[in-house]
Amino acid sequence: MLIDCNAYIGHWPFRIRKYGSCAALLSRMNQFGVDLALVSSLSACFYKNTQTANQTLYDEIHSQRIFRDRFLLMAVINPIYGGWRDDLEICHRKFGIRGIKLYPKYHGYDPTGPECTELIKIARDRDLVIAFSLRMVDSRPSSWLDINEEWDLKDLIPVIRTVPHARYLIQNVSNRIDLEDGDSQVLRDASVLMDTSGRSITNLGFLIKTYGPGKFVFGTHSPVLDYCTGLLRIESLRQEEADETVREKIRSGNARQLFNL
């Protein structure tokens, strides 16, 4: 079984994204054998009022049975925008979200600041996963209007230290992933998983040895990145790096545990 823990539906303003609709993503899933996808709104990245994008995505998913059966919703919450607590309530109680996706760099807030910390604590208490992407797109060929900053893995450690008992998902692991010993231990001890879409996952076998087999989940970062590379990192593992049990954990088992599926 394959569960994609990093996919998006919606519009990206700087370049056409071919697989940004439910129908198009579903076609990819069927072609490549992916059973479920955790999806959030791509457009919400650029909305101050993210709830309109969450509603739009919820409506699209619920417009057809086939979408409802294959997509699980993550809501984008902007904790420095009015009414965000109500937004979270609606997304959790009515939309049935599995987690929240945060964009501190796009929405302009400090991820360790009081607003984001409060949001993460509420999500923790409601058993929702908190997801961050180290980057959305490669900034080099991006538009002059897009942000220029990307994260390294170490940049999220202060967030985890601030609320250590939440459940985190780090998506599109790009740029530097080396950590000092103390930070490495934080990553090991906390409930933090990383998906396989990011370009810095160059040696998944070594990372499994370093952090353990329970730390990785399958992800595509579709429609931004191609649909196969995240899967290739898993399936090209050698037997001595990851036996079938470990591979199945990464394909879906760890996601099931993370999202209580």
Binding site: F32, G33, R70, D138, P141, W144, V224, D226, G230
Partner: protein
């Protein structure tokens, strides 16, 4: 066993998505789950990887203890039979003859060590014209095929003309680094003034229609839409789709604008992305066969250095 596995997957999906449902759901969702699960087939990605013979048209070896074995290991993992390796000079380096000779010696050493895996590609600096021409004779005489250059000189600089004319005679391709360039419309501040841009390739390809140029790493951080659109009419410019930025649209866009015969598989050390985004692209197996192997082999065939 496969049917049981599909039934179990179907049951899991139905239970999972129903538990997320709001009170607006109706009984009809059960039927929906049955229908949709029938569509989620299986895809053996490693079977697809093994299906295609590959030549990595853009590979490197390094002055480090783990090279070239690290590159061989990744190539084994991705079932890449042949890698076209080079060791171009570091950007901003003096670029003098001692330096480019040392780079080429490294490549020659690696090819001798793994002759069945590597095709060696030389480098030079046309600012040192006499030494560069001598180096071409040496390296081609030792069996190297083609040229890789970085950014000491723009590709359309007149200093390059004798080199290009030589490689026309040799019927070999010249792989030229491309910078981030005008990704954000203006030239990126990090780029040196002599970085080659798509417009430079257009100019030099027009001047030398018999030459073969390889535009480096569409997935390497440059604006790939701008590159493909600029190069579409320059039929003697090939592009390789190597690089770490496996943006979902690159391969399809390149094939649309350049045609399936001018797109080359390459990794530039990003092996998963190099293979993955060709598998993910909307291509037929025949097109994948061309991109993974035949296109570059046709280029090698012109100089008689093709892979059997």
């Amino acid at each position: 066993m496969r049917n049981m596995e599909q039934i179990n997957r179907r049951n899991f999906v139905r239970r999972t998505t129903l538990s997320s449902a709001s009170f607006f759901f109706t009984q009809s969702v059960h039927q929906g789950a049955e229908d949709t699960m029938a569509s989620a087939g299986t895809y053996d990605i490693m079977q697809e990887v093994r299906k295609f013979q590959k030549i990595d048209s853009h590979a490197h070896v390094y002055f480090s203890a783990d090279s070239p074995e690290t590159q061989i290991d990744y190539a084994d993992r991705m079932k890449i039979a042949k890698l076209v390796i080079s060791r171009p000079m570091r950007p901003g380096s003096p670029g003098n003859p001692d330096e480019f000779r040392a780079c080429n010696d490294l490549v020659l050493h690696c090819v001798r060590k793994y002759p069945d895996r590597f095709i060696g590609q030389m480098t030079l600096n046309p600012q040192f014209g006499k030494e560069s021409m001598e180096e071409i004779n040496r390296c081609i005489g030792e069996g190297m095929v083609g040229l890789k250059v970085y950014n000491h000189v723009k590709i359309n600089d007149p200093l390059f003309y004798p080199v290009i004319e030589k490689f026309i005679d040799l019927k070999m391709i010249m792989l030229v680094h491309v910078g981030i360039g005008k990704s954000r419309i203006v030239l990126d501040k990090r780029e040196p003034p002599n970085i080659s841009l798509p417009s430079d390739f257009v100019e030099i390809a027009t001047r030398y229609p018999e030459a073969m140029f390889q535009f480096a790493h569409l997935a390497g951080g440059e604006d790939w839409e701008d590159a493909c659109k600029s190069l579409q009419h320059s039929k003697n410019v090939y592009v390789d789709v190597a690089g770490s930025n496996n943006d979902a649209g690159i391969v399809d866009f390149a094939v649309e604008y350049l045609g399936e015969d001018r797109v080359l598989f390459g990794c530039d050390n990003s092996f998963y992305q190099g293979v993955g985004h060709i598998l993910a692209a909307t291509l037929t197996d025949a097109q994948r066969t061309k991109i993974f192997f035949e296109n570059y082999n046709q280029i090698l065939r012109k100089s008689g250095r093709h892979v059997d």
